[in-house]
Amino acid sequence: MTMHQFIAFASQIALAAGEEGATEGGHEALVPGITDGPLVEWAWLIVVLPIIAAFVITLWGRRMPLKGWEAAWGAIGFVAVYGTVLFIVNATQGIVYEGTVEIAQIGDMTLEWGWMVDGLSIMMYFLVGVVGFLVFTYAKSYMKGDVRFTWFFASFSLFAGGMLVLVSAPNLIQLIVGWELVGVTSYLLIAHYWEDFANVDAGNKAFMVNKVADAALFLGAIIMAVSVGSFSFNDIIDVVVHGEEGMLSQYAFWAGLLIFIGAMGKSAQFPLHVWLPDAMAGPTPVSALMHAATMVTAGVYLLGRLFPFYIDEAAMFAGDVRNIIIIIGGLTLFLTGFLAIVQKDIKKVLAYSTVSQLGYMVAAMGAGAYTAGLFHLFTHAFFKGLLFLGAGSVIHAVHSNNMSDMGGLRRKMPITFWTFIAGTLALIGIFPLAGFFSKDEILASIKYAGGNGQDVANFILILGIAGAFVTAFYMTRLVALTFFGEYKGHATPHESPRMMTYPLIGLAFFAVTAGWVNFPGVYTGFTTWLATRVPLIGMGDHHAEGLDWALVLTVSPVVIAGAAIGWWIYGKDRDTQAERDAFRIPVLWPLFDNLYYIDDFYTSAIVRPTMGPIAKVVLWWDMYVVDGIVNGVGLGSIGIAKAIRTVDENVVDGLYNEVGAGVDGLGSSLRLSFTGRIQQYAAFSFIGVVVIAVLFIIL
């Protein structure tokens, strides 16, 4: 489809969506102001530069004055600037563009590399760029003196590049390439301190749990591509929007479910969330970027990219899967919140908090709330990035991850403290910080879905409100144990250097303000920005006219109650760990403390059998069958080589020697005729001329 045809098609759909939107309460798609020009045609640089930077650092990083950091920082800074420009231009004029380069033609299927520049992708460029830039800045100080400083920035840059490949993908193939790039670099980064075997295990765990989900994603993508005859999102959405009966509508449920399972892996949804808390083994900047703007958002992004397929206005595609999505999201946000309560490691609290917040996003997607889910993704990236960097600042000061080594840091680290408080308030959803708006919109959307035929959403709404309570509770506990009371550690804490505090302040600014771009009833620009999409269609999701006061007046007191109870239990300073953990509900505590026994279940049901009998069988097969074949081939090769050597030595060498000797003999006899007397030569040549002349006359 050429660009012109595409725009014609897009504007038709936009018109249709606009008409429909008037009755359904959906929003009109923003008519794009920019569909070509250098701004969007050069946007591929966003994707390519961090990857180039990664290779440059790998090859020459050690010789650079700042050990390769400057290359990574420059590339991500470029992404931040370009992303911000695109974000602003999209907000004011609207951008819809899809650039593609054909790489291969396989039968009827064209393989393309491309870059999407539309509302959804631009939001991700902006997030990865801005959050990434601040995290890279922070990481220079944090990683100072690390043994693999250069290598860290090479893989970190490649990680960001992989995420950008993923979010720029106009087709499933490129998306999977980015998906895997993110997966493999996350393995490298989580296992960065590989001298400690536990960290390697954490890296392996993240990689393998993700791989399980990836297998489902591949199957789903293959079903989808074979059904539609194209990997392009454009073509898939085209089929969905026109409601075409066919192979896709037939297998839509399975394709939708399998792709969702893929998203569950990357976005750490219950019960595949187990890798994410372990991923805390990596350096803190990695946790900040991985759990804020990149990697874990990939699943939610994918659901957003294929959203028309899931919202299913024609009621013949993956609409049923949404019930599964909302249940998984609801269970995740509810169950993992409790696990955050019992953690002792400050980063693990935040890790489970991330899983819980991802549950909100996925539940919103399941409720058919495209904007709400992505809005929470947007705001969450800032305040969770902030919280992780704040935690990193604390860890940097006290040299321990354990909260029992902290306490009383609010006076010693005032900037870290105040920015952390901003992040906490944003996360638990206190008006008017970012999290309030996004979480409220999610709950309002779930409520709306419950009132419009999706019965299960009513139940998830209760879980969502309870989740908000739990969030407030564990975050209060975290703040109380870290920043209040007496200092219990052994190191001498001090405020972090400016290279670390400035990024905190930058993120705190966004954590406070990012929610204002979508203030129901006042200003809902974010909704319109996300609506510029390739293909340009209305998303058909619900948008509240104003704040749902009944809901706000329910959730806000619940949140404040959560914070108050948390303060009541943990606010008082206690000396020993036993006293601190005095709050223990008999049955639930061990359940939470053992993470619902999910990890134990995986260990005994999957890992042990794999390592036990299956490993033995595989070993036997390997030693006797595979090795036998390899050895046989090796011995056969040696035999053949010996035979060839005999032929070579006797026949081939003999032939060459004979030819050489013959030439030598001939030369010796011819030598006699070379007397060195020129007159003799002249006589010979005269005789030759005479002979030739005679021959001419005779013949």
Binding site: G676, R677, A682
Partner: protein, 101 residues
Amino acid sequence: MTIIQFIIVGAALFSMGLYGVITRKNAVLILASVELMLAAVNINMVAFDRYLQDQLHSGQIFALFIIALAAAEVGIGIAIILMIYRNRQSADVDELNLMKG
């Protein structure tokens, strides 16, 4: 005057030149013999030019070329012989057998 007289003079001159080139030991005399052979060729050129009534007189022009060439050749030849003589105090070609195989 028929063409045959010229051919006979040319052939005689060429044979004398060839005999000189092959038998003389002094390099200067060999060079002089070469001149004889060239003169024989010139005679043939001019004779056949007249005989064939060539409109372009290419034979005569060729002869002029050969005269010029011969002058150059003698110049270089004498120079080489002079250098050999200076180095070896002799211009006897029988002693110049460095190319012996």
